[in-house]
Amino acid sequence: MDVLSEKEKALLLGNEAVVRGAIEAGIDVATTYPGTPSSEIADTFSKIARHYTARGQDPGFYFQYSTNEKVALEFAAAAAVSGLRALTCMKHVGLNVASDAFMTYMYVGCKGGHIIVTADDPSCHSSQNEQDNRYYAKFGNAPMLEPSTPQETKDMVMEAFEISEELSLPVLFRMTTRTSHIRGPVNLGEIKLKKKKGRFEKNPLMVTVPEVARKLHPVLLEKMEKAELISEKSRFNFVEDFGGNTGIITSGAPYNYVREVVDELKIKCRVLKLGMTNPLPRKMCIDFLKKSERVIVVEELEPFLEEQLKAIAQEEGLDVKIYGKGYGNFRRIYEYDMDIVESTLRKFFGFEEKKKVSDTSLHAPPRPPVMCPGCPHRATYYAIKQVAPEGTIYPTDIGCYTLGKAPPLEMADFLLCMGSNVGTACGFSYATDQKVISFMGDSTFFHAGLPGIVNAVHHNHDCVITVLDNRTTAMTGHQPHPGTQYDGMGNEAIMLKVEDVVKGLGVQHIEVVNPNNLKKTMEAFERALNYKGTSVVVSKAPCALILPKSVTEGSFEIDQEKCTKCNVCIEKFGCPAFYRDGDKIKIDETLCNACGVCTQVCESNAIRRRKK
């Protein structure tokens, strides 16, 4: 495991560098709910814990895949107020879930250092939005650090614990896809893991009733004044002088592109690189702006730095012109890249435009991600399509099953966020006369599905809620959840059954089916559709990627003599292992996972197991 390397230097993923920083800083508790691009932070903690657990050693820290980000933050907050060092990581939208706890936690503060990692996803590589979580730092009054490289990531994590303890305030640590998922060399220090217990000292100021909250808010603002002094002195805020009196102010991933372009074009400029971006080092910014005739701010998404810098310039009566969003190719949407930064800096510094690389006359076919061969979701979707009436609405949720949006299945109609399938299903059921069948995965069910189901049952909303129980958190890399047998430490855990939980929630009509049996699945959905009220179908079969080799071994093939070329396998079922070869339909044996569901789809019995 590179992250446990004892060498002087290792090539680490940004997310691994977070973990290396934490274990060199003697982390005690790490919690999460997985989400791309943050997932490898938690998975690396889990891997380390399981590594030691498997050897009968105590890992020296506790790690938990919590049911959701809010629970993860609350758990770690309790550890941190008891004096332990804690880290909670999540993707950007995870902080929305945790925000209720987050906002008031800032009032209360912590004792042991607590780092809250938010991994933002400019360009929505694997997310439902590209919100800029830097505003959470302002919103909640959290000191914020933003690294550019894996080395800086590790260094900043270690320092973030110190800052957090100095201020008794959790620190927001903002990554983006291009800092989480880049690899680079990292200098390694000593790993300091040792199991500790904290002690909770009671204090009435930790019970945030209104009277206490009114006392805590000014205290928080005082802490942020101290934080500004830290920001002024922080080694992560620095100026690089390449001559001239034109300034570039940047942070995070865009700094890497700025430096590359400045080097390549030998641009005369001064670069203010901000690593601690909340609170901003005001004096340092004033000094930089004073020494600059013109400044360009290079930041992704919202004009977070730009607007603050403009406010500072106005307050200080500086006549420096500050450029940012709207200049050149700098926009408020999507991530920046080398071309965006280079073209805009060329314009700003008066270089001639770079020669455009011409488009190709031929184009590669789009290759979006698809549900895998053998994916049980495909079987569930196919079965429902056979029995659901025309016009049925399919609210969906966050997970692999959203890939069912693509043809030929087209089984996803509406999506907001984790757990939204149930609430919206009930709303559609009331607002229309259409049938409603909603979908969520097992991990999503535990994360945010329960309150919606309680609401549905209590109001007797007429909809079918499907839990696609594939026994894992598949999309983010197969993490365990409350319905699985083991926890993130590799210890045996109490396994909750979805069907038992929904029974406890008062659902009157519950079906449990194996989707790989299409006929039985169709019958179950027919019964559920006919039931007047809230019904739940648990469609249970393991993700094809976690099945043992013995199950997925071998493949199916098409008997060309029997095949009538009805195309149902390709045009209705849509398993990616099927392809056309001239006028024949074939199954790619390297892709086939041998689930055999296609044999139930084929009306002419032309699909058979391939002989070895």
Binding site: L11, P37, H125, M338, A364, P365, P366
Partner: protein, 194 residues
């Protein structure tokens, strides 16, 4: 020294492993190396791209016309990123197409292979290899990524020697598959030397 490369392919073909091995080889040769990867959704049969930038570099991302080489596990995936290639850069691609389901459904067309190769040749030096066939001969189709890495090392564009890369290959594959991967690497190397 600066060298920038694109590794492309389809989810499941081992693109990230291939790129990481090379980045580690740079590091063990005393050079700085940066990579940028795509995770998550891309694993499910989607297009996967990973960069490796080494030497005196800051950015793990590559500008259009900035890549010294493109190494692709699938012909149209090389085409997809061809705008990244430097004028006269090198493209090494496996010749075996992986047809996306949307093509089987008739929504998109998979371009004629000869035209794909022609388009690539117009932009740089094209090396085609049947890495799948070589990988099978080496012992398993799964070693295709290592065949491609061997081919890249045979092209004399890398400033690190073959043995250094091979050493990192050995360190990064399961112990029982070391020999097979070594074979795959060497066969890829030889394939472009002929």
């Amino acid at each position: 020294m600066k060298i920038r490369m694109i590794f492309a392919g389809v989810g499941g073909q081992g693109v990230l492993t291939e790129a990481n091995i090379l980045a580690k080889a740079f590091l063990s040769a005393g050079e700085k190396a940066l990579t940028s990867e795509v995770h998550g959704m891309a694993q499910r049969g989607g297009s996967v791209v990973c960069t490796v930038c080494a030497g005196d570099v800051h950015s793990p991302l590559i500008a259009d016309g900035g890549a010294d080489a493109i190494v692709s596990m699938e012909p149209t995936e090389a085409l997809r990123y061809i705008k990244k290639l430097k004028e006269g850069g090198t493209v090494i691609t496996d010749v075996n197409p992986v047809i996306p389901p949307n093509v089987s459904l008739g929504q998109n067309e998979y371009p004629d292979l000869e035209s794909v190769f022609k388009e690539i040749s117009n932009r740089g030096k094209l090396i085609k290899i049947d890495a799948l066939e070589i990988a099978k001969r080496a012992g398993n189709a799964i070693t295709k990524n290592i065949v491609m890495l061997g081919a890249l090392s045979g092209m004399e564009i890398l400033p690190i020697d073959r043995e250094k890369i091979l050493q990192v290959v050995r360190e990064n594959v399961p112990a029982k598959y070391v020999e097979m991967n070594e074979r795959a690497f060497n066969m890829g190397y030889e394939a472009v030397r002929d």
